[in-house]
């Protein structure tokens, strides 16, 4: 069984270290907030309007296509671990699975979902 103690320690350090650094910074630095300083940082531009605007629907489809292929990766991983022992049968099965999704990809492609506006 894999021991997850290492992971836990790593996680704890990963959380504690930035917290300690930022905490120390907050304690040590002088506190002089001004209007300009509190503005959201936008690469030097003066921010206009609200950050929460309505985005183009295209982003959503990108996200969805991403989810679909993310899930595909999840299925690929265990297959990759044992594909040698599965032989030709497992290979064919996976190719069918991938083929169905590739048809989905072709569909999205031809529908010009993947093109930027």
């Amino acid at each position: 069984m894999v021991n997850f103690v290492d992971l836990t320690v790593f996680l704890a350090i990963g959380i504690l270290l930035p917290a300690a650094m930022m905490g120390a910074g907050a304690l040590l630095r002088p506190q002089r907030p001004g209007k300009v300083k509190l503005e959201p940082y936008e690469c030097g531009e003066i921010p206009v309007g609200d950050a929460r605007i309505r985005y183009h629907i295209r982003y959503y489809i990108f996200a969805l296509v991403f989810v679909v292929f993310d899930v595909e990766t999840v299925f690929l991983y265990p297959w990759a671990v044992i594909w040698k022992s599965l032989g030709l049968f497992g290979f064919v099965e996976m190719m069918i699975f991938l083929g169905i999704l590739v048809i989905g990809l072709i569909y999205a492609w031809k529908k010009r979902v993947l093109e930027w506006i």
Binding site: G99, I100, I103, G104, I106, Y107, K110, K111
Partner: protein
């Protein structure tokens, strides 16, 4: 070779993938017509394959699939439903100027594949996947008319309620897995026979009943149905009222008679109560409707109630009666919706007043509609009669005389709202004069549905004989 028995499903999948490519690569003008032809071809080949594949009975793929008589019945029924809906859809999509008419057929076929999987599954996992495939396709179909806010409303209501139902169902399934350590229905049945009925098993069973109850729109869980049925495109409403509903009943029969056979007393009681309130409320509410799709939604809720009487009986006779009733109901309802589609394509509002004077504008459709209504009421010499008769018999045999009587009273109530339509057609002067132009496919659908309704009503014995042979226990 273990793939031969599921060749029909493989053929259907191939057709789906091919048609997906056709949608994007076919550049011609008449995409809608080409896709309809392709869909009908694909479904016909599926049915032909089903007819010619050597019969196989038993478990496949480590018990994931159960291919028995009932599976065969539904695997035959669902592609037939698809044929009807595809025929009904073409003109509708054209009239309503649907944006992507081609994909409609692909999604419809995917829903049908999911339904076939549900009916032939032997494992909770395949049931759930089939259900999700059907449901996701159904949500998309409900919202297919993007310009129509009602269609969007139908989709979102159906989706939210459907997602909730899936969650409840999945929770129940996970409890069964935790309690029995198995997802296979046969294994679950074996283990449950040993452990009896501890409280948590009953709680898990209640979750399954609620989850599947949503999908068949049984009464406390029916609130999505009227809005979804009213807002969805009419051919899709036709599909909802027969396809996913029949598939959910197939899943119910699978889960409860295959998997939970030891708890038959408990679940048949639950279904008896559900059947009682479902048919009564469905019929009573249908009386007040002004929109024909909404009225038919309540009518279809009421019919789900009748069908559940077969489950309440909890016997093999009950199951046979359910299947025969479903057969009659499916084709009758498809016929009704074909008439509604034909009328809606010209009038556009689907109000009950649109039917005024239909007997003069299209005597054939009006007469056909009367026959379909008679079948739904359960008048002798129509398909619906024998379905109701068998359900009645199964209920009485199981000592549920009260339920059988309620069913008879409800059939009488249902005359009320069907009569409103008939009166509008025959006794009220038409709003719009002139013959109603009806597309050829719709006439074909009405005619086939009419023939099935009448033939099944007159010669039901051979069909019943085959169904009995299919579903004989053991």
């Amino acid at each position: 070779m273990s793939y031969l028995p599921i060749l029909p499903e493989i053929v259907l999948t191939a057709a789906i993938l091919f048609l997906t490519l056709v949608v994007v690569f076919y550049q011609g003008e008449n995409r809608n017509g080409v896709m309809m032809t392709g869909t009908i071809f694909g479904l016909s080949v599926t049915l032909l394959t089903l007819a010619f594949v050597p019969p196989f009975a038993g478990y496949l793929f480590s018990g994931m699939l159960t291919l028995d008589g009932m599976a065969f019945f539904f695997r035959w029924l669902f592609p037939a439903v698809g044929l009807f809906v595809a025929f009904m859809a073409r003109e509708f999509l054209e009239v309503k100027k649907a944006e992507n008419p081609g994909e409609f057929y692909v999604i419809l076929l995917l829903a049908i594949l999911g339904m076939m999987l549900m009916a032939s599954s032997g494992d909770l996992i395949t049931i759930y996947l089939g259900l999700e495939l059907t449901s996701i396709s159904s949500y998309i179909l409900a919202g297919y008319l993007r310009e129509d806010p009602k269609s969007g409303e139908a989709a979102i209501k159906y989706f939210l309620m459907g997602a909730l139902a899936s969650g409840v169902l999945l929770f129940g399934m996970s409890l069964f897995y935790g309690l029995t350590g198995a997802t296979n229905l046969v294994s679950i049945s074996g283990i449950l026979h040993q452990v009896g009925a501890p409280p948590l098993v009953l709680a898990a069973m209640v979750f399954l009943i609620i989850g599947l109850g949503f999908k068949v729109a049984a009464v406390p869980f029916h609130m999505w149905a009227p809005d979804a049925y009213e807002g969805a495109p009419t051919p899709v409403t036709a599909f909802f009222s027969v396809g996913p509903k029949a598939a959910a009943f197939a899943a119910i029969i699978r889960v409860f008679t295959d998997g939970l056979s030891s708890l038959v007393w408990e679940w048949s009681l639950a279904f008896a109560v559900l059947a009682l309130i479902t048919m009564t409320l469905g019929n009573l509410t249908a009386l007040w409707q002004k929109n024909v799709k909404r009225m038919l939604a309540y009518s279809s809720i009421a019919h789900a109630g009748y069908i559940m009487v077969g489950l309440a009986a909890g016997t093999w006779q009950g199951t046979v009666a359910m299947l025969l009733y479903l057969l009659a109901y499916v084709f009758t309802n498809l016929g009704i919706f074909a008439v509604v589609t034909a009328l809606g394509n010209r009038e556009g509002k689907d109000e009950l007043t649109d039917f005024t004077g239909l007997s003069q504008r299209s005597p054939y459709l009006a007469a056909a509609l009367v026959v379909f209504f008679l079948s739904l009421i359960g008048i002798p010499f129509t398909a619906g009669f024998f379905g109701k008769f068998l359900l009645f018999g199964a209920a009485v045999q199981s000592g549920l005389v009260w339920l059988a009587l309620v069913m008879a009273v409800n059939s009488a109530i249902s005359v009320g709202y069907y009569y409103t339509v008939v009166r509008n057609m025959y006794l009220v002067a038409p709003k719009n004069k002139g013959a109603l132009p009806v597309a050829g496919e719709l006439k074909l659908v009405v005619t086939v549905a009419l023939l099935v309704t009448l033939i099944l009503g007159l010669f039901f014995e051979p069909v019943l004989g085959r169904l009995v042979a299919f579903t004989l226990p053991g």
